[in-house]
Symmetry: C3
Subunit: 209 residues, 3 copies
Amino acid sequence: MVSTVLLDVVNFVGLAAFALSGALMAVRRQFDVIGMAVLATITTFGGGVIRDVLIGDTPPEALRNVWWLVVPLAATAVAFFFHPQITRLRRAVVVFDAIGLGVFAVNGSAKAMQWGLSPLAAVMLGVVTGIGGGILRDVLGGETPAVLRRDSQLYAIPAILGCTITVTLLALDVHLLAATLPAAAFITGVRLLAVWRRWTGPVPRALHG
Amino acid sequence: MVSTVLLDVVNFVGLAAFALSGALMAVRRQFDVIGMAVLATITTFGGGVIRDVLIGDTPPEALRNVWWLVVPLAATAVAFFFHPQITRLRRAVVVFDAIGLGVFAVNGSAKAMQWGLSPLAAVMLGVVTGIGGGILRDVLGGETPAVLRRDSQLYAIPAILGCTITVTLLALDVHLLAATLPAAAFITGVRLLAVWRRWTGPVPRALHG
Amino acid sequence: MVSTVLLDVVNFVGLAAFALSGALMAVRRQFDVIGMAVLATITTFGGGVIRDVLIGDTPPEALRNVWWLVVPLAATAVAFFFHPQITRLRRAVVVFDAIGLGVFAVNGSAKAMQWGLSPLAAVMLGVVTGIGGGILRDVLGGETPAVLRRDSQLYAIPAILGCTITVTLLALDVHLLAATLPAAAFITGVRLLAVWRRWTGPVPRALHG
């Protein structure tokens, strides 16, 4: 009971963080309010929709729980009026986004396991759920997806590790909450550590020169 | 009977307008004839394919009615030989495109309702059906999607309003034609009015300075 | 028996070629190792995943045969350490990629026929299977899709012709191998001939001036 409420709250924080990141990119790209709402919505639901389409769970969850749409619309409204203040709160957005990454990635892997996919496929789908929305946001916004760039701090790597933890624990019949919440916290923690310590991913050698 | 023929004609005008807009963007981007055909095809069917994949109606309609493929191929041929003349007819293309937006958006919402989705989800899917093809066209063509940009006239807003009208009427058990045709005309009309009067969407405040 | 092994080998060459082309583009775009792995994976599986989602075969093959994931990961490792040498082997990559195009396009059409789609839809899906991964690679890498550009040698055209051959033969009840392998060789051959002889597609007239 308490844990369900906790999950809902954490999930909401993740949705809100992704929504804000989409709305704020739209402000930076000087889009209008429709551009903000579209980018916020796609960033919020993109990863989960791709996951659901791939596993064949259609219509996707985002279309069955449409009151979730309140989240990107509220984020659009907030960013519309208060984006200078939010931009100053850039660190808070990074923290929220890291929470979203952890929650979405781990949830994606857990759902894929429930749908009978193999462990390796479940890790892949978890990562897709975590990073898919941000990739769509960047492509629509006309930027190279942050997750691919060498100047970005570790993002996919903690997701891969955390999803592997979740999938391993679920394969060992560990309880869902015990298999997901610590792994989500691990992803969020490593991501924040990477931002703080400026950890970046390995780069092919010749390009160093 | 008459109304079915009318619907077919209107739908055809919408398909043709979207196909032409894709082929003409390919000309502007200096693509070859394959680039023209690919862009025309994706613009014509993109929104409907996304809608069908999301609601789980696979293979999508565009693959079941493949003679529709004649439309983007004919548009490619016409644009290949006559694009200077068509470009001079830019206003005609804008009118056709507005008709396509209205027809596709309203049809998308009606189909979503028939498939049992909730009213809010049906509005979303209608808008996706209307604007999806154009977004794919712009992304593949290397431009920022027009629907997101502040310098574009109202496009998504009339679609949202028109789909809301259709969904409301369908929820009240109004006949399909009565619930869709006026709403499609409303979308087309508001869009054309916006182009004519240069109505643009609201923009976040700080960027005015 | 022998023919099945042959098919597997040819398919593997195609997967590996597409994987390398994705990893090498990531190197050229100065992405990090995650960017390489993501681009390699999407290029390898993108076309087939789109095909499977469109015909409704979910989860897509790539998620059911996850050991295939070894291919893009190995390509990433190879490109990470040896990309200067591979870049010098650019011709080998072009040959591999042409093999991949032929195999994937023809396999895509054959699968669509098996799933009961119409011949024209099967040709379309074959072409999508062949060119889809490369289009996603280019969009994510921030480049205009090569297949659309006028300065690219024939790529989609041999795929369209070869898929038409396969679909025609399958419609005439020709054996699967006889309907696919020669058509795949035809696509690969025409593509390589086009690269060698610098054949490009037709371009709309006014742009010549």
